[in-house]
Symmetry: C4
Subunit: 228 residues, 4 copies
Amino acid sequence: MTENVSAASLICDLAKQFYELGWVTGTGGGICIREGEHVIVAPSAVQKERMTPDQMFTLSIDGSVISGPADASLRPSECTSLFMAAIRLRDAGAVIHSHSIHAVIATLLFDREFDISELEMIKGIEGMNYHDRLVVPIIENTSRECDLASSLEEAIKGYPQTRAVLVRRHGFYAWGRDWVQAKTHAECYDYLFRAAAELRRLGVPTVPLKGVNDASIPTRPAEPFVRR
Amino acid sequence: MTENVSAASLICDLAKQFYELGWVTGTGGGICIREGEHVIVAPSAVQKERMTPDQMFTLSIDGSVISGPADASLRPSECTSLFMAAIRLRDAGAVIHSHSIHAVIATLLFDREFDISELEMIKGIEGMNYHDRLVVPIIENTSRECDLASSLEEAIKGYPQTRAVLVRRHGFYAWGRDWVQAKTHAECYDYLFRAAAELRRLGVPTVPLKGVNDASIPTRPAEPFVRR
Amino acid sequence: MTENVSAASLICDLAKQFYELGWVTGTGGGICIREGEHVIVAPSAVQKERMTPDQMFTLSIDGSVISGPADASLRPSECTSLFMAAIRLRDAGAVIHSHSIHAVIATLLFDREFDISELEMIKGIEGMNYHDRLVVPIIENTSRECDLASSLEEAIKGYPQTRAVLVRRHGFYAWGRDWVQAKTHAECYDYLFRAAAELRRLGVPTVPLKGVNDASIPTRPAEPFVRR
Amino acid sequence: MTENVSAASLICDLAKQFYELGWVTGTGGGICIREGEHVIVAPSAVQKERMTPDQMFTLSIDGSVISGPADASLRPSECTSLFMAAIRLRDAGAVIHSHSIHAVIATLLFDREFDISELEMIKGIEGMNYHDRLVVPIIENTSRECDLASSLEEAIKGYPQTRAVLVRRHGFYAWGRDWVQAKTHAECYDYLFRAAAELRRLGVPTVPLKGVNDASIPTRPAEPFVRR
């Protein structure tokens, strides 16, 4: 994958797949892919499952538009400044933004941090193992997507091991060294967000109390669901 | 999109997509698209995911048939008079009717108005922002679809900001200035109907009590689900 | 649709669609289509989403094999005698058998009859209107599928208005005058089985107590779910 | 199916299908198919729905690599030693590994054995009938997938009738005499894992107390969900 045209096609393919997963309905969510010193970004407010490669923008790493689609009514995704935060701070090769309802529910079950342990899918996140406690910081949503940038950056800096940030009542951002790892991360996180709600419904703590890391785990209330 | 043939093809494409979303199974639901002074409408009681462009009707804005399919057994969708209400009163370019089970459940969780606030997907509805309280009027169902027209018109007039009307134990109508916006609206509303049921299940109010618009929000009962 | 080849192709198409709906996984479930005095039936115990038209059997109305696939290891679907009951007793043009989990759950929520009223999708069943009480008889499952035939016939005779029979802990059979109506019926019934479980979860009776037909409706226990 | 190229293509097709079922997201899960004295296995840590036949490995029954893809960065699936256990001990023709969330939940509802009876889909498992009690052993998960091999082998030996083994908080392995039967088994087991959670939610025991095998069934607690 060394040509712009490939990344542009790939974004269209992946967006179609993400639409079927319920991540980018209603023109929400999106994905960007880095190509060396350029970042390919989809336009804002378009139907994500019907995009074509000629609608993509090419941006520099600092966010300025290098080239864009012929249709002058299109603007780069509103997520752009957030995508750039993960690219700049983590050297991400791709960033995915999802409005998955599982992520939204996860932000209502946990306060400032989502955490889970002892599920096989945790191993899909770079650097994590089955017995590790996977933590995802949750930031508060803002009226305008671009106003999320500073708290997203703070969360990325405050949680050096995370590959995702949850946004309360909104969704999540996940990234990876390339689009394959970003997609793998997003799929694993989404599975874990969904699993957490199922565990709570069963009265099973998301971090087992008598596990390997027992001593380091704060006690959780016993009721199945916790309101924030 | 300036030719009838395009709108007719598009209706077939979208209907297939809506079938997969569970909006138009059992021949229910539908979509119409306006073309200048004409409205393209699908036939009644056909399998929505298997329609072909040559089965579409072309109507005038007042609802009279200008041209129709060769198959004389077909009649225009029973939703036609309801579609026309949104076109006439709101200058809609497209109207979508869905039997989504999420919408039906929403009508059992709320009395005369569905309301929700502080979910990112609210921003997908024209004119609405994250902290706004999104209200969708709920009208009572009738035995015959055409008998819904007067109460639908009343709801459209009574709620000038809404882009959708829920029909109790039936589904919803949503519209937009063109088919893209109508589809975006329908996807966002459907997501919010589903989210509302999830929030209730968690004991989280759909309109936060201590939010920006706190003073204007009526107190809601504490139990997770409210029967009408 | 007047040629065998068409019905055989159609069965393969529909089976693929039903697989995606979760009705015929694990080689379960199926569909037959009548062609005048012949009935086209799929083979038993094959993957329903991967069938080809040349694998179909042509049977006479009395169930004897007129022609079959070259592969001698294939036998006609085990549902054949059940399909024939609806064809013979109701002059059905097509019969669908589904293992939908929604149907199985419905048979655990109701005793000898599933009933529901005041949902728009009820209107998708021939002869039924919104305020009618839709009743589907539930028969007990047997170890061998062919042993269901006599109780299925009894249920069909005992409920002249029904277009479907539920089988406890198994699934349902639905039919129609042709394949289009059989499919419409199956989709509407499946939606209603799912809706019934959602209503029970909310504490809403499936037949409203203060509805149009109030006097004729037996009181139901208040608890959300009733064990058989 | 007598050529390697066929099995390799088939693995790619099936993996796409399993991705849509939610069994192999995040590069998890997989499938292998035996070809006489060879076993075709997919590479580790790749996107399962985007594999191509030229990426497959050919192994001997003892697990040594006979041939592999041109891309030297690829290694055989981490499940390989587990796949080989079922092939060696049960003469399996194909083995499927799924991360289905239904399976993970099932391992939280049961202690050392999953059991269920009187559901039609039980008949999809070789040798089982409707009234039989289907038992699936549950083994504890380990940090590294290869460390599961000895407890998987023990479970296979200890439960001669089973065609699947559940792995706590991880997923399940299922097999069959050929890929068709392995897939049928996996679909039936997955359906039954999901059904078990639904039954528990309704307060219905997964093994009926007053059934045919009543005397042999241990009493179960009354609460809808049991924590391990």
